[in-house]
């Protein structure tokens, strides 16, 4: 294991980076990785949350997920990000896993994670899931790999139009970090020597509101079947003036849904019928696999739900969060 003390040393080191290590160590246990580990945790300045002079908020890549969920700067101005961070995985994982590791974690496909199978993601050729069990798979079949991207935080950051800073490469949008989903081999577009340094959240809009929702097969701790994030600004007449919607669990990348965003603009925040109509456009262009058609109605309903929840602003009150099963402050989530 290499333990660089500076960013420069980390960039020069060869091996797989380790932040919280919750994904990397799990893969090592499965025999998917036995190479060199480059530990980033001894480099100063990579963790922490602060407001910049221009009003943007900088979150260091090694900031723990639990801290993203509970930090007042995030919970106050970027509540959908805080809720996403507080809803994913388990208390034990959130205490160790980092925001950078969440974005760059490898795929959760059971074939990829099983040493007996080889596929595009593990360096082979072919996708056993496409012809086998892909009930966890995508409905937007954008490339050769049919497993959904694992990062919940990725979807939240798309709605906030966040950027990331990569050592030596400068700023990249979160959308560029993930690409267009046609590359079946990688889960993100960083390569050897690319150290993710920080995430930048642009200043919030006046009076904006947001929400995060997920569908799971178990009340807590389970990976989402589908998930959705929505961020809205309303005009004086309570009509939606800005909408940002992104979804997860349905594509090889966290996916923004501009079709829904366009359809929401001008809609009254209390017009459920119009919101539901707009939400149905979340599946426009979807091409479900034989075993994933159940995700089509799930996604449409969830998007309607997350938009209504954002419009009602109830993700911003403790009572609203408890009601919707979102973590509350007292739970230190």
């Amino acid at each position: 294991m290499i333990r660089p003390a500076t960013l420069r040393e980390a960039v020069a080191a060869r091996g797989e980076y380790r932040a919280g290590g919750t994904d990397l160590l799990a893969r090592r246990r499965l025999g998917l990785h036995d190479g060199e580990v480059v530990d980033l945790t001894h480099i100063p300045g990579l963790a922490g949350i602060e407001r910049q002079e221009d009003g943007a908020v900088r979150i260091g890549a090694l900031t723990r997920i639990a801290d993203v969920a509970s930090h007042p700067l995030v919970a106050g101005a970027y509540p959908a990000l805080a809720n996403t961070a507080g809803s994913l995985a388990t208390p034990q994982i959130r205490a160790v896993g980092t925001i950078g590791g969440n974005l760059l974690q490898r795929n959760r496909c059971p074939y990829y994670r099983h040493p007996a199978f080889s596929c595009f993601k593990s360096g082979g050729d072919g996708c056993p899931a496409r012809h086998g069990d892909h009930s966890h798979g995508v409905i937007f079949d954008l490339g050769p790999c049919v497993s959904p991207h694992p990062s919940s935080i990725g979807a939240a950051l798309l709605t906030y139009e966040a950027g990331v800073e990569v050592a030596g490469r400068g700023r990249l949008s979160v959308a560029d970090l993930f690409g267009d989903g046609t590359d079946g081999r990688h889960d993100h577009r960083l390569g050897p020597g690319d150290v993710l340094v920080a995430v930048y959240l642009p200043p919030p809009l006046e009076g904006e509101r947001a929400a995060y929702r997920r569908v799971t097969s178990r009340a807590l701790a389970e990976w989402p079947t589908v998930e959705a994030v929505c961020r809205l600004a309303l005009d004086e007449e309570n009509r939606i003036s800005v909408a940002r919607v992104a979804v997860g669990g349905v594509a090889p990348i966290p996916l923004r849904r501009p079709e829904v965003e366009d359809a929401l603009v001008g809609v009254s925040a209390s017009d459920r019928t119009a919101i539901e109509r707009a939400a149905r456009r979340a599946t426009e262009g979807a091409d479900p696999l034989p075993q994933t058609s159940h995700k089509v109605p799930l996604l449409e309903a969830l998007v309607a739900d997350v938009v209504e929840s954002a419009a009602a602003g109830d993700a911003h009150t403790e009572a609203g969060r408890a009601e919707r099963g979102l973590p509350t402050k007292s739970g230190r989530l």
Partner: protein, 154 residues
């Protein structure tokens, strides 16, 4: 590399030659078998320990991270020969069947009651979400801690 840390109040050292997990070192080198090894994937919580007071899965934490810190395992939640109120609550209600998950639940619940002596049912479930039990169906476990939440813990 030789690492040193405090395990349940006692100074210990261990040799780590590869990116070993804290769980490996606890069980294979330090004879602390209370923390269980079930999935090594962060899914079950049976390896839960407190690392400087923070609830973590020791299977996914590098042993090297423990250097200089305080690690509390189920063996250390109460003085020798005594039970922590969390353990007494589980005993009272019979919240144990095979017992494999129990050390993880005990450590997670000790952490919860340290922070919040009177958690609601929802807070109990959130705090224990990272721990899986294959036997009890959780009913008795949740009940034990609901009961405890209604009493004065410390």
């Amino acid at each position: 590399m030789i690492i040193g840390f405090r395990l349940n109040g006692q100074e210990v050292t261990a040799r780590v030659d590869h990116p070993a997990s804290l769980l490996d070192v606890l069980r294979d080198q330090l004879g602390a078998y209370g923390s269980k090894n079930a999935c090594e994937q962060g899914e079950c919580g049976s390896c839960s320990v407190l690392l400087d007071g923070e609830l973590v899965c020791s299977c996914l934490v590098l042993a090297a991270d423990a250097e200089g810190s305080e690690v509390t395992t189920v063996e250390g939640v109460a003085p020798e020969g005594e039970l922590h109120p969390v353990q007494e609550a589980m005993n009272r209600v019979g919240a144990v069947q095979c017992g494999f998950c129990t050390p993880g639940f005990v450590v997670a619940a000790v952490d919860l009651f340290e922070r919040n002596p009177h958690p609601t049912s929802r807070e109990i479930k959130e705090a224990l979400a990272g721990n899986i039990c294959r036997c009890t169906g959780y009913g008795a476990i949740i009940r034990a801690f609901e009961e405890l939440a209604g009493r004065e813990v410390r």
